[in-house]
């Protein structure tokens, strides 16, 4: 999201009175801002969903949807809740002004609006918004959009909640000899391309990548946002990952570069999802037996010589995907044998 240029911002005036709209627009344009206007809250909300604004100047007394109702709607709207609102009104009772602030308005300016005060309040609000936008951009860089959204909605707290989801582990087969056979710069480039492709496939099916380590990654389908068909989504994502690796390998082969293969393990069931770490440094992840099983299944792909292995719970919720039962398999860390299924996947290498 672009930050407003210093001193110039896109502002929305919401006021049912035409004289007030024109005068406020004039003052703001003279201060170098670009302005649009709406005659009530309903029209304003439509405009806010269709165009990017930096700040709203809001009257309270309006037909159809008044300022209080608009503020309430904005608080409940993830897209709009952080947009600064300055109330401009000739409301006379302190209670109404307090209510505006409690509903999230950043400031209150009585009408007729003093242009000098208007400039000061707008600049202060825009500066605060700029800092908030910077924080959000930072958060997006280090967290997935889903986790960033979850943080925005619920705030940050260490600890987790029980969810039903699917977990995927994936890594590159024979990565160490591959890394040793070429300059580190080429390995980094290969890893970046690999991660880009894997992220696309995973997020395209509603999953989030919660951890990356070397050539491996862990993805969750069904948390922090619930996903009704998380088993199907995880398996479809794995199939797309294999397909993308196949295309990537074709390019690598054409360029005379090494090809790669991946192994994927998926398990589904109850787990605890949330933030682990410390208050200073934490990551969104899942823990539990299901997660351990997914990791073990990924490791078992080498033994079984299959690209994608899934557990019985994932298999039970699958529709229209060819799978082959590998029977009950002894998995390290599990006291009882586990039903394992191999998902039919195309060859990864040409």
């Amino acid at each position: 999201m672009n930050e407003p240029a210093a001193g110039r911002a896109r502002l929305l005036i919401v006021d049912d009175n035409k004289v007030n709209r024109l005068l406020l627009a004039r003052n703001l344009e003279l201060q170098g801002h670009s302005v649009a206007a709406a005659e009530n809250g309903r029209v304003a909300l439509e405009m806010l969903h269709g165009e990017r604004f930096d700040l709203v100047l809001l009257d309270m007394e309006m037909p159809e949807m008044n300022g209080f109702e608009m503020l309430e709607r904005m608080v409940g709207d993830l897209q709009l809740r952080d947009l600064p609102v300055i109330v401009t009104s000739s409301l006379e009772d302190t209670g109404s002004v307090v209510r505006c602030i409690e509903l999230g308005a950043e400031d209150y300016l009585p009408k007729p609006v003093n242009p000098v005060l208007l400039r000061a309040r707008i600049n202060a609000s825009l500066e605060k918004k700029r800092l908030r936008d910077q924080q959000k951009a930072m958060m997006r860089r280090f967290a997935t959009p889903e986790v960033a959204q979850d943080l925005q909605r619920s705030g940050f707290a260490l600890g987790g909640k029980r969810v039903r989801a699917s977990v995927m582990f994936s890594d590159i087969r024979g990565f160490t000899p591959l890394a040793e056979s070429q300059p580190p710069e080429e390995t980094i480039e290969l890893l970046n391309t690999y991660y880009t492709l894997m992220f696309d496939a995973i997020s395209g099916h509603g999953g989030i990548v919660s951890q990356m380590a070397g050539d491996g990654l862990m993805a969750i389908f069904g948390a922090p946002l619930a996903l009704p068909d998380h088993c199907e989504a995880a398996v479809r994502a794995a199939l797309e990952m294999i397909d993308l690796i196949r295309l990537f390998n074709a390019e690598q082969a054409a360029a005379g570069k090494p090809q790669i293969r991946i192994g994927v393990g998926i398990a589904s069931g109850d787990m605890v999802a949330g933030y682990t770490g410390t208050n200073e440094r934490a990551t969104y992840t899942c823990i539990g037996d299901t997660v351990n099983l997914a990791s073990r299944l990924e490791a078992h792909t080498k033994v079984a010589a299959r690209a994608i292995l899934i557990d019985g719970a994932t298999h039970a919720d699958l529709r229209g995907v060819d799978v082959e039962s590998l029977g009950s398999v002894e998995i390290r860390g599990k006291s009882q044998p586990v039903d394992v299924f191999a998902v039919a996947a195309p060859a990864q290498q040409g």
Partner: protein
């Protein structure tokens, strides 16, 4: 001493900050919009709508304050505050008084913008 229909200090400051040409256009807008607000108040009274009467009076009060039309603003404020009482009585006298104040303000503003 009768207070002036338009407080010239307020009006002059408006011209200084927004520009004389713009204020002329703004007065023209008021001359179109204010009669609509007065009509809305009469309709609201006829339909016993306290909310609509209060909102229209509030709007005209705001414009009166903007142009320095202090008596107009005070009269509109009185209607805003007493909207429920006026609707209950059905008495249109306060609206007539407000219309007279507006007519005086409109004449004065038209003269000021011709200067």
């Amino acid at each position: 001493m009768t207070p002036p229909t338009i407080d010239t200090a307020t009006f002059d400051e408006l011209k200084t900050t927004a520009g004389a040409d713009f204020v002329r256009e703004l007065v023209d807008t008021l001359l179109v919009e204010a009669p609509l607000m007065l009509d809305e108040m009469r309709t609201a009274l006829g339909e016993h709508s306290v909310e609509r009467l209060r909102r229209a009076a509030h709007s005209l009060k705001s414009n009166g304050m903007t142009f320095g039309a202090l008596e107009l603003a005070a009269s509109a404020r009185d209607l805003e505050v007493r909207a429920a009482e006026i609707v209950a009585s059905g008495d249109a006298t306060p609206l007539d008084a407000l219309a007279q104040r507006y007519a005086a303000a409109a004449t004065a503003l038209a003269e000021l913008t011709r200067e």
